[in-house]
């Protein structure tokens, strides 16, 4: 309005301005767009996490953020400001890696100051602490973020020289363009989910509804949705309303029953308590898309069926209501407010069709479709990170949350390092005698395995003759068939996959997870373990893509040659010598068909002089003059246990001559020959 008035007055100048602007724009267009190897969209937790890894690797990257600072989502959401990701500051353990298992808010970095526990003392911290934390994370680490830059359009430009055969062309709100070799989208879910039903205009959205309980005093409130946002909203006004009805398509899922952090958390479930204790509040299940809302002349809202509204009668008071036909219809009371808390969708609008970025299947419409490597199925070089990447493990693991996607971002970065810079997936190489220890170490401290259970898994690649192995951490297990190309490492001699799993039938919205005798204590029952526990798969060959895709139902991986469950542990401490380590060793031994016991130098000495072959422990230790010498104390225990012989003792007798040298392992057990050798063979066959 002001402009149209001013126009005649400022005419010439305005024209000049327009010309200048135009020329500036066209000049800009003519010049080549700024190039970046890596472009990251969004400076939320996932964008910053990725930026950190790119920065550490010294890569050419920029993060684009439309807000003036990082983590803008958290400046407004959650509306009631309480984060439901726990900030566990004490675990009684010093191990920093282990402590990340119980830290749901920190991003990964080398800086111990950048741990969330330094930012809040609340168990359920305030969202503004997250904003502050993310700001510090970007600043302290010097991450390259362009704030106030809204990318409005992303297109594809085919170019043979590009890493992926095309560049991603990003255009910001000012018309600046950027050319990117790889695009990492970490924009989260930003579009509120709406239902398209008659009367949806009467709904208050979660994103804009008042958070002041005073506004709800003495009201009848209907909340649509069954997620944490819906319950969080209800919790806030529970004490002042007449009643709250909550309506959703399917039954409420409690996160402690499903083991999925995205389901209803106990901290928000006050309404369930009052509903079940015969208060006026209640939960209902119905398909929202069949409903309609009509507003009567008093401004109250009535719930009816879409079909009744579509009969053509537009007069609100005359629309047929369900109670007209069925007079005990549950939602026959008029509501003062209808609040929509239906979650969020990914913003597809900025992506050009040429990117072929499509939404997931029926169950994950709100997410873009990606492979298990987080790369878009539509265009190579486009990766989805953070919350938006949750389609990979939706309702299963933690990939939609900070404590999960911080690890998947690292996995994507490792993939990119190999693909574009020839840096193989990090791995350590060890002699086979360290195999059980390497696995025990990881299952006891690794946070990535623990948080991203059944999504990221460690992989052990055996070397020829199984004398040594490479240990790879946190590989996206659904990509197992493509392991060699993704990691740049060879898997020619068998491999182990170390995963963490809940029991098959333990989790679910209707499961009683507190049933008596729910935990397993015997090692032979380990496969029946219910709580999260390590599971190790052994393959003689890398599974093919077909085998991964058509794996048995409920299996995270194709059928292995052998499988081992480490029995669940109440303390998640899997270091018991007989309960955890011994069965694991037996499993590894039988997969590799070798004896992986450790021996003291004296035993190795005996073997070296009385046998032509030595066990791996003696070969890799004693023969290299690194034998383990027993102290007198330990030797004494060995003699008492019968595993060692006291050759010096006066009571030591020359044993019967007919005994074969093969029987002369310390303590008279039979190492290789004889009956104990048999089962391993037969086991082999069964494997």
């Amino acid at each position: 309005m002001g402009l149209s008035v001013a126009a005649p007055l400022w005419g010439p100048l305005g024209l000049f301005l327009a010309i200048a602007l135009h020329s500036a724009l066209s000049v800009h267009r003519a010049s080549a767009p700024a190039h970046r190897d890596y472009c990251v969209l969004g400076a939320g937790p996932a964008g910053l996490q990725m930026a950190y890894f790119l920065q550490q690797a010294g890569r050419d990257y920029t993060v684009f953020e439309r807000a003036p600072g990082p983590g803008s989502f958290f400046t407004r959401y959650p509306r009631h400001r309480k984060l439901i990701s726990i900030n566990k500051r004490y675990t009684g353990k010093a191990n920093a890696e282990f402590n990340l298992r119980h830290d749901w808010n920190s991003l990964l970095s080398h800086d111990p100051q950048l741990l969330f526990r330094h930012y809040s003392s609340a168990y359920f911290p305030d969202a503004s602490d997250m904003v502050r934390y993310l700001g510090d994370f970007a600043d302290r680490l010097g991450l390259q973020v362009r704030y106030n830059t809204t990318i409005t359009h992303v297109a594809l430009n085919k170019d043979r020289r590009a890493w992926n055969g095309h560049y991603f062309i990003l255009t910001d709100q000012k018309g600046h363009t950027f050319q990117c070799s790889v695009l990492l989208v970490a924009t989260g879910l930003s579009v509120p989910n709406q239902v398209d039903v008659p009367g949806s205009e009467y709904m208050d959205g979660y994103e804009s509804v008042s958070v002041d309980p005073k506004d709800f005093v003495g009201q009848n409130v209907l909340i649509l949705g069954r997620g944490n946002a819906a319950f969080e909203t209800a919790e806030n006004i529970l004490g002042v309303t007449n009643f709250i009805h909550m309506l959703s398509r399917s039954r409420v899922r409690l996160s402690w029953a499903t083991h999925y952090v995205g389901d209803l958390r106990a901290i928000n479930n006050g309404l369930l308590d009052t509903y079940q204790l015969k208060s006026l509040d209640g939960l209902l299940e119905s398909d929202l898309t069949d409903l309609a809302i009509v507003k009567d002349h008093k401004g109250k809202f009535h719930i009816t069926l879409k079909a009744f509204v579509e009969e053509g009668n537009q007069d609100a008071d005359a629309v047929t209501l369900p109670q007209d036909e069925s007079d005990n219809f549950a939602m026959r009371v008029p509501y003062d407010r209808v609040i929509r808390c239906l979650g969020w969708n990914f913003d597809f609008s900025i992506f050009s069709k040429s990117l072929r970025l499509s939404s997931g299947g029926d169950f994950s419409k709100k997410y873009p479709l990606v492979r298990a490597s987080y790369e878009s199925k539509g265009s190579r070089g486009l990766f989805i990170l953070g919350t938006a990447s949750h389609s990979v493990d939706y309702r299963k693991s933690a990939g939609g949350f900070i404590h999960g996607f911080r690890y998947t971002a690292r996995a994507v970065h490792r993939l990119l390092e190999q693909r574009h810079h020839g840096v193989a997936w990090p791995a350590t190489e060890h002699p086979v005698t360290q195999l059980a220890s390497a696995i025990i170490r990881r299952i006891n401290e690794a946070s990535g395995l623990y948080q991203m259970f059944s999504v990221l898994a460690d992989v052990v690649l055996m070397k020829e003759n199984a004398t040594a192995f490479e240990y790879l951490e946190e590989f996206p297990m659904q990509m197992l068939a493509q392991l060699e190309t993704i990691t740049g490492r060879k898997a020619r001699h068998g491999l182990f996959v170390v995963n963490m799993e809940y029991g098959r039938n333990f989790s679910g919205p209707d499961k009683d997870v507190f049933y008596y005798d729910r935990s397993v204590g015997y090692t032979e029952d380990a496969w029946l373990s219910n709580f999260l526990h390590p599971v190790i798969y052994y393959y003689r060959h890398l599974p093919t893509e077909q085998e991964v895709r058509f794996r048995p139902a409920d299996w995270p991986l194709p059928r292995p040659a052998a499988i081992h469950h480490v029995v669940e542990d109440f303390l998640t401490d899997w270091t018991a010598p007989v309960g955890h380590i011994l069965p694991l060793r037996r499993f590894l031994e039988n997969c590799l068909d070798m004896d992986l016991r450790s021996f003291y130098a004296e035993s190795c000495f005996l073997f070296a002089l009385t046998r032509q072959k030595l066990p791996p422990f003696c070969q890799q230790g004693y023969l290299r003059t690194q034998g383990l010498v027993a102290t007198e104390n330990l030797r004494q225990h060995g003699v008492e246990s019968g595993l060692l012989q006291d050759y010096a003792a006066a009571g030591w007798h020359w044993q019967d001559s007919n005994q074969q040298p093969g029987h002369q392992g310390p303590g008279g057990y039979t190492p290789a020959p004889g009956p104990p050798g048999q089962p391993s063979d037969s086991n082999k066959e069964e494997l």
């Binding site: 037996r586 016991r597 450790s598 021996f599 005996l606 046998r611 003059t625 009956p675």
Partner: protein, 823 residues
């Protein structure tokens, strides 16, 4: 004895044939009726199946008949299929397909005809045919009276084999018939299917087939009953055969031989022997006892009477029973058992014991899998409650690590408190700390990587245990010696001085070479190494310094490059640059020129020089000598070596006769495990000292120098020559087995598979069961889906309580349990 043995052999082979030929495919000859009758031979039995030419409905029977061809052939019975074609009908050809029958002929005489449904499988075919042919040998009875009559008639004449089977044509029936075919002329076979007869004999568990041996032959008094022995094993052809063989064997044998050498039919049948040790004086009583034991153990073990005074072999004074297992090579056991019952239970528990051992072998669930068989893990575990004086070492953390290792010379042990090998080393490490208490300039520290994972990763420690030395701000040095107190101590002590040490004068160099300079360190290093360089030889010096850093903690190294270095080079007659090696033990100084020698080569030279020509071999130094890859010539000595022997061998070394060997000696007092080595080499230990050649690297043969010969140069040389020429025979060959897994692992995959099919069954059951009923039983249980975990849980408990025997057939059992209404 020998004849019965050959019978036994035949028996075995026939039994084997029965077992293995079942699966063999042998074709059933197809004949026309005319052809068939023309082939009949007098006295020869033939089983003929008459059928319509191209009938298909009888194919199941034909398959079974086909399978029976081989086993029947073993008994000289032929089988034929006769095709009834319309043009040449026979009276044996039935009118309709259903009425087709099988006929048994002997010669041209028809013995029996069988409807095909009687011969339902191969067992039934064999059983029925033999039953028909052995009509006279096997008496079929239905009343107790029949049995009594037969028993009475046989007293003093023949023993009886009496068996009960549930039905004619069962596999058990077949087993009995097959035994009767072999033993029918020797024993009277009696067969019944009447449970009542069995009950009256006094058997409690009558569900299964039973076989008794009635000892009627020795009974002369008709009023006396025949003794009976029940066969306890299941009724299979092999078991029946074995059982009868043991019944045939003499009840009690008297022997006057070394029990180790004694062998009877029992051993060959896999049964143990029990020797009752008696003496001449109490012979009568001993014999009665032995007979009594023999009766009790009949069919389970062979019993022998051994008179102590008639034997030269030494039997421990108090032993009264000797137990010898059937497995070859297992030594006999000397026992003191004062009660017949004890003897019996010892034998039975042993039989039971071996059976469970077999079960463990065949079953994945063997209970032994949970028993620790790792000596390091077990010993560390047993020691877990002892408090170590950990305070003698400094525990480092993420906060203190860098500050500590940069501010003071430190040894760091990186370990994980859950890892046994680490914890075993920690004990040695603490011992080092105790020994060094207050005397070392080196700080002894440790990092528990289970707590400080990131510290260890940053120090590039990703396996445990690792020992590193941080000294003078240089790159840390990883310790690569034996993981024990001695070697750690040596490493720490030798690192007190720099490596190499800068020698400042010729005088000091002489002191250094004589061992005066580092007197207190000489005991840790067999060698003092001195590099001699002209001041201008910078490259050569650098190479030597590099070598010195490699040898850190192993040897004392020094460097002298003064202007007057030629004094030393002249004295030791070597051109510069040069290496002087002072061997303190031997009091020798060797000199080696070092022109253009690289650091790594210098390391090698020093290492080789540190090897002794005739070392005392120990647990610690064996690996160093094994690297030479030569056969070992070991002199085993109980205590110090005889100087004469040492002299002899040194002489042979000097004369280069032992160049192809690594000569060494072993002091059993210092290295007691050497006794274990000797035990592996010798069946009977000859007197020490002993000279042995062990060909470890090719073939594994062990040769022993004859202990009756004196260790002289001449004798040794002759022996070595013979060895070389291949004229000496080895006393043993070291086993070359691979180190396979000591025990199997849990086969979770098949347990999961079993549970999966089990769940499938359960859900089928649920479907078939009346759902209403279910609701009545569990009103609160609204969901059928909950059935699933319950089912699995039930299976879990069931598995645990029932052991592994039945676990092999979980489905049948579970079905019964879970679907009572369906069945």
């Amino acid at each position: 004895m020998s004849s019965s043995f050959s019978v036994f052999r035949v028996g075995i082979s026939f039994a084997m044939m029965c077992i293995f030929h079942v699966s063999a495919v042998d074709f059933l000859p197809e004949l026309s009726p005319q052809k068939f009758f023309s082939t009949l031979q007098p006295g020869k039995a033939i089983l003929a199946y008459f059928c319509q030419a191209d009938s298909s409905s009888t194919s199941v029977f034909l398959e079974e008949l086909n399978e029976a061809v081989e086993p029947l052939q073993d008994y000289g019975i032929s089988v034929a299929k006769v095709n009834c074609v319309t043009e040449e009908t026979s009276r044996y050809c039935g009118k309709e397909e259903d009425l087709m029958k099988v006929y048994l002929f002997r010669g041209s005489v028809l013995l029996r005809e069988f409807p095909t449904d009687t011969l339902f499988d191969v067992n039934a075919i064999v059983a029925h045919v033999l039953f028909a042919l052995l009509f006279n040998e096997v008496k079929y009875i239905t009343t107790l009276g029949d049995l009594q009559n037969i028993e009475d008639a046989r007293k003093g004449k023949t023993n009886i084999v009496f068996s009960y089977v549930r039905a004619i044509g069962t596999p058990e029936h077949r087993a009995v018939m097959e035994a009767a075919f072999v033993y029918g002329t020797t024993y009277q076979f009696v067969l019944t299917t009447e449970i009542s007869i069995l009950e009256s004999i006094g058997t409690e568990d009558i569900e299964y087939a039973h076989l008794y041996f009635f000892h009627c032959k020795p009974v002369l008094d008709l009023s006396q009953q025949c003794k009976r022995t029940l066969m306890e094993q299941s009724l299979t052809t092999l078991n029946v055969h074995q059982f009868i063989k043991t019944m045939e064997a003499p009840l009690l044998t008297e022997v006057a031989e070394d029990p180790q050498q004694v062998s009877t039919v029992h051993l060959q049948l896999g049964l143990p022997l029990v020797f009752i040790v008696g003496q001449q004086a109490t012979y009568e009583a001993d014999r009665i006892t032995a007979e009594w034991v023999a009766w009790r153990l009949l069919g389970k073990a062979g019993v022998l009477l051994l008179l102590r005074d008639s034997l030269e072999v030494d039997i421990p004074q108090d032993a009264n029973v000797i137990f010898k297992r059937a497995e070859e090579g297992v030594p006999v056991e000397f026992l003191v058992l004062n009660d017949v019952e004890l003897i019996v239970s010892h034998v039975e528990s042993d039989i039971y014991g071996t059976q469970t051992e077999e079960d463990e072998v065949s079953d994945m669930d063997g209970p032994n899998m949970d028993i620790q068989d790792d000596e390091v893990a077990e010993t560390v575990y047993r020691d877990r409650k002892r408090q170590l004086p950990l305070e003698l070492t400094v525990e480092l953390t993420e906060e203190t690590f860098n500050a500590t290792v940069t501010s003071s010379d430190s040894i760091v042990l990186f370990y994980a408190d859950w890892q046994a090998v680490s914890m075993a080393l920690l004990q040695s490490y603490i011992d080092v700390a105790i020994k060094l208490k207050g005397t070392s300039s080196m700080l002894l520290t440790r990092v528990n990587c289970a707590d400080w994972s990131h510290v260890c990763t940053k120090q590039n420690v990703t396996e445990f245990p690792v020992v590193k030395m941080y000294k003078g701000g240089e790159n840390p040095v990883s310790y690569a010696g034996m993981l024990g107190t001695e070697d750690l101590l040596k490493f720490i002590q030798l690192n007190r001085i720099s490596c190499p040490v800068n020698i400042t004068s010729v005088k000091e160099a002489e002191e250094y070479l004589s061992g005066e300079l580092f007197k207190d360190l000489i005991s840790y290093s067999t060698l003092s190494v001195l590099g001699l360089f002209h001041p201008t030889m910078t490259t050569a010096k650098e190479e030597f310094i590099e070598a010195g850093s490699y040898l850190k903690g192993c040897f004392i190294t020094g460097i002298y490059s003064g202007e007057d270095v030629s004094i030393l080079s002249n004295k030791y007659a070597v051109t510069l640059p040069a290496l002087l090696l002072a061997k303190h033990k031997e009091g020798k100084i060797e000199s080696i020129p070092l022109a253009n020698t690289h650091g790594q080569d210098i390391v090698q030279i020093v290492r080789n020089a540190s090897l002794e020509t005739f070392p005392e071999i120990t647990v610690e130094n064996l690996p160093t000598y094994l690297r030479l890859k030569k056969p070992l010539l070991i002199l085993f000595s109980d205590g110090s070596i005889d100087p004469q022997h040492k002299k002899t061998i040194l002489m042979l070394i000097k004369e280069k006769h032992l160049d192809l060997l690594t000569p060494c000696w072993l002091n059993l007092n210092n290295t007691p495990v050497g006794r274990g080595v000797l035990q592996a080499y010798f069946h009977v230990l000859p007197p020490l000292p002993l000279l042995v050649v062990v060909n470890l690297h090719s073939g594994g043969q062990v040769f022993a120098f004859p202990s009756d010969q004196a260790v002289t140069e001449q004798n040794l040389l002759l022996w070595l020559k013979k060895l070389e020429a291949g004229q000496e025979s080895h006393i043993t060959i070291l086993p070359a087995q691979e180190w396979k897994p000591p025990l199997p692992a849990y086969d979770f995959l098949s347990m999961i598979d079993a549970a999966a099919s089990h769940t499938r069954k359960v859900s089928e059951c649920v479907k078939e069961t009346d759902v209403q009923e279910d609701y009545k039983e569990q009103p609160e249980d609204q969901s059928a889906a909950r059935k699933e975990p319950t089912g699995i849980l039930r299976m879990k408990h069931w598995n645990r309580s029932n052991g592994f025997e039945e676990a092999k057939k979980p489905f049948r059992h579970d079905n019964k349990e879970l679907c009572p209404k369906v069945s």
